[in-house]
C-alpha cells in the first residue's frame, strides 16, 4: 500500500466525518468550524491529485476568508437565534433527495470515465504533459499573465467596486437599522467602562 492511498484514506474519513458532524451540530459556530475541517480535507484531496494551485486557493480563500465571513455573519446575527424550521416550499425534501441522487450518479459516472472525458484542448494527454513540464501553477501563470492580461487587471477594478459597495452598504445599514446603531453604542460604552 502506497502512502498516497493511506493519505487518501485519512482525508476521506476526515472529510466525510466532518461533513456529517456539520449536519448534526447544534451550535452554528461549530457547524462553521466543521466546514473549515472539510475544506482543509478537500485541499489535501486536491494536493493528492497534483492540483497545487486549487489546493492553495482552497485554503486561502475558502478555509480562510470565506469561513471568516461565515463566522462574522453568525456573530452578527447572534449565535443563539434558532432558525424557523417550517419550509415554505412544499415538496422540497423529496425534490432534494431526487436531485442529490442525480448528482451522485453524475459524480460516479465522471469518476468512472476519469480523464477520458477531456476531449477538447488536446485531451487528457495534453493535461498530463502540462502537469509534467512546467507544472500546472506555472502553466496557469503563463496564461493568466499573458493572454488573459486584461481579465486579470479588470479583476482588480471589480475588487475596488466591491470595496466601495461594502463601505456604502455597511454605512447605510447602520443608518437605518436601530439595532446595529444601539449595539454600536453599547460597544463604545463597554470600552469606556473598561
Amino acid at each position: 500500500m502506497s502512502i498516497d492511498v493511506a493519505v487518501f484514506g485519512v482525508m476521506f474519513v476526515v472529510v466525510l466525518g466532518s461533513s456529517i458532524a456539520m449536519l448534526f451540530a447544534r451550535n452554528a459556530v461549530h457547524v462553521a468550524l466543521f466546514l473549515v475541517v472539510t475544506q482543509i480535507g478537500l485541499a489535501v484531496a486536491f494536493l493528492l491529485e497534483g492540483a497545487y494551485f486549487i489546493a492553495a486557493i482552497q485554503i486561502i480563500v475558502y478555509a480562510g476568508a470565506i469561513m471568516v465571513l461565515f463566522l462574522f455573519v453568525i456573530m452578527l446575527l447572534g449565535v443563539d437565534r434558532r432558525e424557523a424550521l417550517n419550509e415554505p416550499l412544499r415538496g422540497q425534501r423529496p425534490l432534494a433527495v431526487g436531485l442529490a441522487a442525480l448528482l451522485a450518479a453524475e459524480v460516479l459516472y465522471v469518476a468512472y470515465k476519469g480523464s477520458d472525458l477531456i476531449t477538447t484542448g488536446g485531451g487528457s494527454q495534453a493535461l498530463q504533459d502540462l502537469n509534467a513540464d512546467p507544472g500546472n501553477v506555472k502553466a496557469l501563470a503563463r496564461v493568466v499573465f499573458s493572454r488573459y492580461l486584461l481579465p486579470f487587471e479588470v479583476t482588480s477594478i471589480l475588487l475596488v467596486v466591491a470595496v466601495v459597495g461594502v463601505m456604502v452598504l455597511a454605512r447605510q445599514m447602520s443608518a437605518i437599522s436601530p439595532v446595529s446603531a444601539r449595539s454600536g453604542s453599547s460597544v463604545a460604552d463597554k470600552e469606556e467602562a473598561a
Binding site: S146, L149, L150, V154, I157, V161, V164, G165, V168, R171
Partner: protein, 494 residues
C-alpha cells in the same frame, strides 16, 4: 505553451482606463479632503473623466482590430456604444448631483460607482471574449446593486437592492455556467478567434457537429444571463422592484445603460459570432421577444406607481429591440443601436422629471402625486408629455423613428408577423402612457403641497437636453442613423 509577452495596445480600452482612473482619483480625493459642505469638484471631475472617455472612443472610430490577445474588439460598434454610454453617464452624474445635495447623501461613492458602472458597460460593448464579457457584466452589476440601495433612510431602497443583488447573482451564475458549457463544447471562449487561438465558431466547425446540442444549451444559458440584464421576460421579475426602490437618477441610468450594455453583448454574441447558427438560436430569442413585448405592455396598464410603470415600459422596449436583434442583418443591428441610444436619452429625461417631482426622500412617485401637474408645473409636465409620447412611439419624436427602423429590419428578413406583434403591443402600451397624460392634464390636484419642489439647475439642464434630443432626433434622424449604420460596417470583420 511557452510564455510570450503579448503586444499591449490600449486604443480599445482607453475610454475604460480613463473612467477607472478618474473614479479611483475621485474616491481618493473625496476621502482625503473629507466631508466639505459643497463638493462641487466631484461632479466636475466625473464629467471630465466622461468627457475624456468620449474623446478616446472617437479616436478609436475607424480602427478595426482585436487587441490584447483577442480580448477586446476595437470597431465602430464599440465606439458608438461607448460614446452613447458616456453621454448617459454625464446626464446621470448631473442629475445625481442635484439628488445628492437634496438628500444630503455621500457623494464620492455615488460618482465613483457611476463611473465604474459606465466603464464596465463600455467593456461589455468591446469585449471579444466571454471571460471579458463576464467580468464587465459583474463590474457594472455590482456597482448598480449598490447604487440601487443608495437612498438612506429608505427600507424600500435597501430591500430592492437586496432583491436585485440576489436575482442578479443568480442570473450571473447562469451566464458563467453558459461560458463553461461553451468551453466544454468547443474548447474556446473567444468570440472571433485569431492568431492567439481559435474562436468559438471556428473550433466548432473543426470539431464537427457532434457537440451542437451542448453548444445550443450553452447559448440558452448565455441568453438567460444577458436577458436578465436587459429585463427580458421571463427574467424580468427584478425590474419593477429595483426601479421603484432605486433613487430616480439611478433608475434612469439602469434603464438606459444596462439595456444598451446587455444588448451590445447580445448583438456581438448572436449577430456576429453565432450568426452561422442563427437558425438554432432564433426560435428561442423570438419566444423571449414576443413574451417580453406582451408581458411588459399588458402589465404596465395596471400600475399605479410611475416608476413601476416606467419599469414595465422598459421591459416592453427590450422586446422591441429584440426584433432588430432577431433580424440579424445590418439594418437590424444599426436599428437596435439607434433604438437603444434614443430610448436611453428619453428614459433618462423621463426619470429626471420623476426625480425632480419626487421631492424629499424621493417618495412622491404615485400617479396621485401627478394629478393636475400641468396647472402647477406646466414646463415639467410638458417635458414629461414629450418623453412619454416618444416612449409610446408617436410620430415627430425619436421613439417613432426607432420603432420604424427595428420593425422594418424584421420585415426585411421576413419576420413581418413579429413586427405586427410589436405594433399591436405598442398600441397597448400607448394606453398607459395616455393614462399618465390624462392624470396630468384632466384631473385636479388633491392637496396643496407644504413645500413646492424645486428643480436644480443641473436637473433642468438634463431635462432640457433630453427633450431637445428627443425632438431633434424625431425630425432629423438621418445623421444618427448614418453613424449607426457606419458603426456596423466594420463590425463583423473583427
Amino acid at each position: 505553451m511557452p510564455l510570450d509577452i503579448p503586444a499591449v495596445r490600449l486604443t480599445g480600452i482607453a475610454p475604460e482606463i480613463a473612467l477607472c482612473a478618474t473614479a479611483l482619483l475621485l474616491l481618493v480625493i473625496d476621502a482625503v479632503l473629507g466631508e466639505r459642505r459643497n463638493r462641487w469638484y466631484l461632479p466636475a471631475l466625473a464629467s471630465i473623466g466622461l468627457g475624456l472617455s468620449i474623446y478616446f472612443a472617437t479616436e478609436a472610430w475607424g480602427t478595426t482590430r482585436l487587441e490584447l490577445s483577442g480580448m477586446v474588439a476595437v470597431d465602430g460598434f464599440a465606439s458608438f456604444v461607448k460614446i452613447t454610454l458616456a453621454v448617459f453617464g454625464l446626464l446621470t452624474v448631473w442629475l445625481g448631483r442635484d439628488f445628492l445635495v437634496r438628500e444630503r447623501a455621500e457623494e464620492g461613492e455615488f460618482y465613483g460607482l457611476v463611473l465604474f458602472a459606465v466603464a464596465g458597460m463600455m467593456l461589455m460593448a468591446g469585449a471579444a471574449d466571454l471571460i471579458v464579457v463576464f467580468l464587465a457584466l459583474e463590474t457594472f452589476s455590482l456597482a448598480l446593486y449598490v447604487l440601487v440601495g443608495f437612498r438612506r433612510r429608505s427600507l424600500l431602497s435597501q430591500e430592492s437592492s437586496m432583491k436585485y443583488f440576489l436575482l442578479g447573482s443568480f442570473s450571473t451564475a447562469f451566464f458563467l455556467l453558459g461560458i463553461a458549457f461553451v468551453y466544454g463544447a468547443v474548447g474556446s471562449t473567444n468570440l472571433y478567434g485569431g492568431e492567439d487561438g481559435p474562436g468559438i465558431v471556428s473550433s466548432f466547425m473543426a470539431t464537427g457537429a457532434s457537440d451542437v446540442g451542448l453548444l445550443i444549451l450553452a447559448m440558452g444559458l448565455l441568453i438567460v444571463g444577458l436577458g436578465f440584464k436587459v429585463a427580458a421576460v421571463p427574467f424580468h421579475m427584478w425590474t419593477p422592484d429595483a426601479y421603484q426602490g432605486a433613487p430616480s437618477p439611478v433608475t434612469g441610468f439602469m434603464a438606459a445603460g444596462s439595456k444598451i450594455a446587455g444588448f451590445a453583448a447580445l448583438l456581438r454574441l448572436l449577430d456576429v459570432t453565432l450568426y452561422p447558427l442563427r437558425e438554432d438560436w432564433r426560435p428561442l430569442v423570438i419566444g423571449v421577444a414576443v413574451l417580453t413585448m406582451v408581458v411588459g405592455s399588458v402589465l404596465a396598464v395596471v400600475q399605479e406607481d410611475v416608476k413601476r410603470l416606467l419599469a414595465y415600459s422598459s421591459i416592453a422596449h427590450a422586446g422591441f429591440v429584440f426584433t432588430g436583434l432577431i433580424a440579424a442583418n445590418d439594418r437590424g443591428v444599426s436599428g437596435s443601436l439607434f433604438y437603444l441610444a434614443t430610448y436611453g436619452i428619453t428614459v433618462l429625461g423621463a426619470f429626471a422629471v420623476v426625480a425632480v417631482l419626487s421631492g424629499r426622500d424621493d417618495e412622491k412617485v404615485t400617479l396621485r402625486d401627478y394629478r393636475g401637474l400641468f396647472y402647477d408645473r406646466p414646463l415639467l409636465a410638458g417635458a414629461l408629455t414629450l418623453f412619454l409620447l416618444s416612449l409610446a412611439g408617436v410620430p415627430v419624436t425619436s421613439g417613432f423613428v426607432a420603432k420604424l427602423v427595428v420593425f422594418g429590419a424584421a420585415i426585411q428578413e421576413g419576420y413581418w408577423w413579429l413586427a405586427v406583434v410589436g405594433m399591436v403591443t405598442s398600441a397597448i402600451a400607448a394606453f398607459f402612457y395616455l393614462k399618465v397624460l390624462v392624470v396630468m392634464y384632466m384631473q385636479e390636484k388633491e392637496t396643496e403641497d407644504a413645500e413646492r419642489v424645486r428643480s436644480g439647475p443641473l436637473s433642468t439642464g438634463v431635462i432640457g437636453l433630453a427633450a431637445l434630443a428627443t425632438i431633434v432626433l424625431g425630425l432629423y434622424w438621418g445623421p444618427l442613423i448614418d453613424v449607426a449604420e457606419r458603426a456596423t460596417l466594420f463590425f463583423a470583420g473583427g
